[in-house]
C-alpha cells in the first residue's frame, strides 16, 4: 500500500512541477487530508453504491467549503483518476505523501516540536535556525504541548528525534542506575538491582 501511494504521489508531483501547479494542488490535498479525518467522509468514498461522479463532486465541494475557494482543476482531475482506478482508499496516505515530496522538492522539512509548555515564537525560530544549519534543509516546526514531558522539549524531524526533555533525562538516569555494578552498591550483594535478574 505504502509503495503504491508513493507511486501516485511521484507521478502527480512530476505533472504539477511541469505545469507549475504544485502549490495549489498541495494546498488542496492538505485540506483534503484534514477533511478525511472524518469517518463519514471516508465511509462515503469507499461505498461502492455511490457513483464515481457524485464522489468527485462531493470531494470538490468539501474542498471549497473548507478552503473558501474552488479547487485547482488538476486536483479535480487527479481525484477522478483515483476514483476511476479504484484507488480512492489511498487518498489519506497520498495527501501526506504528496506534501512530503513537495517539501523535499523545495528543500524544506517539517518537524514536530513537543514541549511541556507553549514556547515563545523566538525560541521556536531559534530552534528552526539551528536545525536548518544541521540538516541543510529549511526546517519548520509545529509546536504541540505535551504535559507528559515534565519539562524541556522533544523534536521529531523525519526519522530523527532530539530529546531534551526532563522525562528523557530521568529515563536515562534510571537506566544508568539500574546498570550499576552490584558490587559497587553493597559489597557483592543486592542482586535485585542488577538488570539481568
Amino acid at each position: 500500500m505504502a509503495s503504491l501511494s508513493r507511486r501516485y504521489a511521484d507521478a502527480l508531483l512530476a505533472v504539477t512541477e511541469a505545469e507549475g501547479s504544485t502549490p495549489g494542488v498541495e494546498k488542496d490535498l492538505l485540506l483534503l487530508g484534514e477533511a478525511l479525518e472524518s469517518k463519514e467522509l471516508r465511509a462515503f468514498l469507499e461505498n461502492p453504491a455511490v457513483p464515481r461522479g457524485t464522489k468527485a463532486e462531493a470531494l470538490v465541494k468539501a474542498l471549497a467549503a473548507a478552503g473558501g475557494e474552488s479547487a485547482h482543476p488538476r486536483t479535480r482531475r487527479f481525484l477522478e483518476v483515483l476514483l476511476d482506478r479504484g484507488r480512492i482508499r489511498l487518498l489519506p496516505e497520498l495527501c501526506a505523501r504528496f506534501h512530503e515530496l513537495a517539501l523535499e522538492a523545495r528543500g524544506e522539512a517539517e518537524g514536530e516540536l513537543f514541549s511541556h509548555g507553549p514556547m515563545e515564537t523566538e525560541e521556536v525560530r531559534a530552534l528552526e535556525e539551528t536545525l536548518t544549519g544541521m540538516t541543510g534543509k529549511k526546517v519548520r516546526l509545529r509546536n504541540t504541548v505535551d504535559r507528559d514531558l515534565l519539562g524541556g522539549f522533544v523534536i521529531r524531524l523525519g526519522d530523527r528525534m532530539f530529546d531534551a526533555s526532563l522525562k528523557g533525562r530521568i529515563q536515562a538516569l534510571g537506566a544508568r542506575l539500574k546498570g550499576l555494578p552490584v558490587e559497587r552498591l553493597a559489597g557483592g550483594g543486592l542482586d535485585a538491582l542488577s538488570p539481568g535478574n
Partner: protein
C-alpha cells in the same frame, strides 16, 4: 548478604550528581504492527541489518527485514509491553554479547545477561562481540591435530574427535545425548586441573536451546557437583524464552567461544540442540512472512547451521593456534535421520555419533552405534597408542556384528566363529560405561589393549565390568610406573607393550572370576 542502606544511598547520590543529561539525538521509527514476538516499524531510515532496536520499557529487538518503507524486527522480550504507534530508537549497535573470562562459570542468556542470580556481568563496550561472527578463512586455519578426549571409550577409540572438529551427536529422545555432553565436559577437567586461567584447560560452553528450565538447572547442578562449572559457561535459552532468543543463543555461544579461540585457547561448544533452534528460526521467519520451503523451514535454514558450524576451527600457529570444537546435537524423530534438518547437519559436520534407543534399552550405554558412527578428521588427531590398539577393536567388533547376525539362525558354529563371537561379546561389554565416569586415555588404552588381545576371553561376560575396575585399580597401585610412562609418552613402545603383557598375565592369575 549485608546491605547498608546508607552506603547504597551515597553511591546513588554520587551517580546522580555526576550524571550529565545531555540531549539525545537518535534515529527513530514508529511501531506499525506488533504481535507474536515480531514488529513492523515505520521509519528508521538508516537501520542496519541485525541492528539492536530499543522499543522502550527494557524491550529490545533485532532488525531482520529491511524493506522499502518499513523494518521487520523480532522482539527479544515481552511483546505485550510494545504498543502500536510507539517510538522505536535505533541503537547504532549490531546485536552483541559480552565475552571474556567474566563469562566463565556463569549461566547467561542469548544477550549475555546473567541467569544464575549471581550479579551483573559488567563489562565495557570493548569486551562485546557481535553475535554473528565471520568464520576464519582458509589461510587462517590448519588441519586438526590435537585430540579432544571425551573420556568415553567407545568414542575416543573408534570415533576420535580432534580439536577444531565438528562432530554431530544424533539420536532419538532419551538415548543419552545430553549425558554424553556432560561426561565430555567433566572429562575436560583433566586437561588443566579445572583452572580456567591455565592455558592448557579446555573451556566448555553449553548452549541449551528450547529446553526445560529444570533440565538446564539440573545440568548446572551436575557440573557444579563434579567441579566442572569452573571452566564452563552455560548459554541458556529455555522453552519459555521468545523464539528469537532461542535461535540467537547458538550464535551468542559461538561468539563467547571465539573470543577464547582467538586468544589461543582451546574451547569446546555444545549446541543442544539444533533441531529446536531450527524450529525457533522457522517460527520467527514465518511470522516475518519469509516464504516457507521444505517442511515449512525458510530457504536459508541450511545456511543457518552451516555459518554457525563454520565458526568452529583450528587456527594456524600464526593466529595463535587456538581451537573451537563444535559438538552439535540433533534430535531425530523415531530414528529418522533422513529428515530435513538431520541430513543438513550431517552434511555440514565432519562426522556423527549415532545414539540408538534399542541399544540404550538393551543396556548398552553409552548407546553409540559404532557401526554407522564416523569421524572424518579426528583419526589424525588420535593419541598414537590409542590409534594402535583401536584398529583391532574396530575390526573385531565389525566381524562380531556380522557373525552375530548369522548366529541368530542357531546353526552349528565352528570353533573360530564361536571364538570371534565370544571376543565380540566381551568387547561390547568392555565399552559399556557408567554416567559421569570418564576414563583417562591411558586407562582406555590399557583395557582396550587387553580386550583386543583376547585376555578377557576366559572372563565370564557378567564379570567383565568388575574385571575392568579391578584391573585399573591393580595397574594404578602396582604398575604406576607403566601407567605414567603411557600417560606421558602416549605411545605404544615395545617396552610398554611388554610391560602391559606381563601385567595383564599377572592380574589374570590373581583375578577371581
Amino acid at each position: 548478604m549485608d546491605l547498608k542502606p546508607s552506603e547504597v544511598t551515597s553511591v546513588l547520590r554520587k551517580e546522580i550528581e555526576g550524571f550529565e543529561g545531555a540531549a539525545q539525538d537518535a534515529k527513530v521509527g514508529t511501531v506499525l504492527q506488533v504481535g507474536d514476538g515480531v514488529a513492523r516499524v515505520f521509519g528508521l531510515g538508516d537501520c542496519m541489518m541485525s541492528e539492536l532496536l530499543d522499543f522502550g520499557n527494557g524491550v529490545f529487538g533485532v532488525a531482520l527485514n529491511l524493506e522499502e518503507d518499513n523494518v521487520g524486527a523480532v522482539l527479544l522480550g515481552d511483546d505485550t509491553k510494545v504498543k502500536e504507534g510507539q517510538v522505536v530508537k535505533s541503537t547504532g549497535r549490531i546485536i552483541s554479547v559480552p565475552t571474556g573470562e567474566a563469562l566463565i562459570g556463569r549461566v547467561v542468556d542469548a544477550l549475555g545477561r546473567p541467569r544464575d542470580g549471581r550479579g551483573a556481568i559488567d563489562l565495557p563496550e570493548s569486551e562485546y562481540r557481535p553475535i554473528e561472527g565471520v568464520s576464519p578463512t582458509v589461510p587462517e586455519r590448519q588441519p586438526v591435530k590435537e585430540p579432544l578426549q571425551t573420556g568415553i571409550v567407545a568414542i575416543d577409540s573408534m570415533i576420535p574427535i580432534g580439536r577444531g572438529q565438528r562432530e554431530l551427536i544424533i539420536g532419538d529422545r532419551q538415548t543419552g545425548k545430553t549425558a554424553l555432553i556432560i561426561d565430555t565436559i567433566i572429562n575436560q577437567r583433566g586437561t588443566g586441573g579445572g583452572d580456567p586461567k591455565n592455558p592448557e584447560q579446555v573451556l566448555c560452553i553449553y548452549v541449551a536451546v528450547g529446553q526445560k528450565q529444570s533440565t538446564v538447572k539440573a545440568v548446572e547442578k551436575v557440573l557444579t557437583d563434579h567441579d566442572a562449572m569452573s571452566y564452563t559457561t552455560i548459554v541458556s535459552a529455555p522453552a519459555s524464552d521468545p523464539a528469537s532468543m532461542q535461535y540467537l543463543s547458538c550464535y551468542a555461544g559461538a561468539s563467547i567461544g571465539e573470543r577464547f579461540r582467538d586468544e589461543g585457547r582451546h574451547v569446546v561448544i555444545f549446541y543442544d540442540d539444533l533441531y529446536k533452534q531450527a524450529l525457533a528460526y522457522r517460527q520467527v521467519m514465518l511470522l516475518l512472512r519469509r516464504p516457507p520451503g521444505r517442511e515449512a523451514f525458510p530457504g536459508d535454514v541450511f545456511n543457518l547451521h552451516s555459518r554457525l558450524l563454520e565458526r568452529a576451527a583450528k587456527l594456524s600457529d600464526a593466529k595463535g593456534g587456538g581451537s573451537l570444537t563444535a559438538l552439535p546435537v540433533v534430535e531425530t524423530q523415531e530414528g529418522d535421520v533422513s529428515a530435513y534438518i538431520p541430513t543438513n547437519v550431517i552434511s555440514i559436520t565432519d562426522g556423527q555419533i549415532f545414539l540408538e534407543s534399542n541399544l540404550f534399552n538393551a543396556g548398552i550405554r553409552p548407546a553409540v552405534n559404532v557401526g554407522i558412527s564416523v569421524s572424518r578428521v579426528g583419526g589424525s588427531a588420535q593419541v598414537p597408542a590409542m590409534k594402535k590398539v583401536a584398529g583391532g577393536l574396530r575390526l573385531d567388533l565389525a566381524q562380531f556384528r556380522e557373525l552375530a547376525a548369522f548366529a541368530q539362525f542357531g546353526s552349528d558354529l565352528d570353533k573360530a566363529t564361536l571364538a570371534q563371537i565370544n571376543r565380540g561379546e566381551r568387547l561390547v561389554e568392555l565399552l559399556k560405561q557408567g554416567q559421569y565416569k570418564p576414563f583417562p586415555v591411558e586407562d582406555q588404552v590399557m583395557f582396550v589393549y587387553a580386550g583386543t588381545k583376547g585376555s578377557l576371553d576366559k572372563v565370564p561376560i557378567q564379570e567383565v565390568g568388575r574385571w575392568r575396575t579391578e584391573f585399573l585399580e591393580f595397574m594404578h597401585a602396582d604398575k604406576s610406573n607403566l601407567v605414567e610412562t603411557l600417560a606421558r609418552e602416549k605411545k605404544m613402545t615395545d617396552e610398554v607393550r611388554e610391560g602391559l603383557d606381563r601385567a595383564i598375565e599377572e592380574f589374570n592369575a590373581q583375578f577371581q572370576a
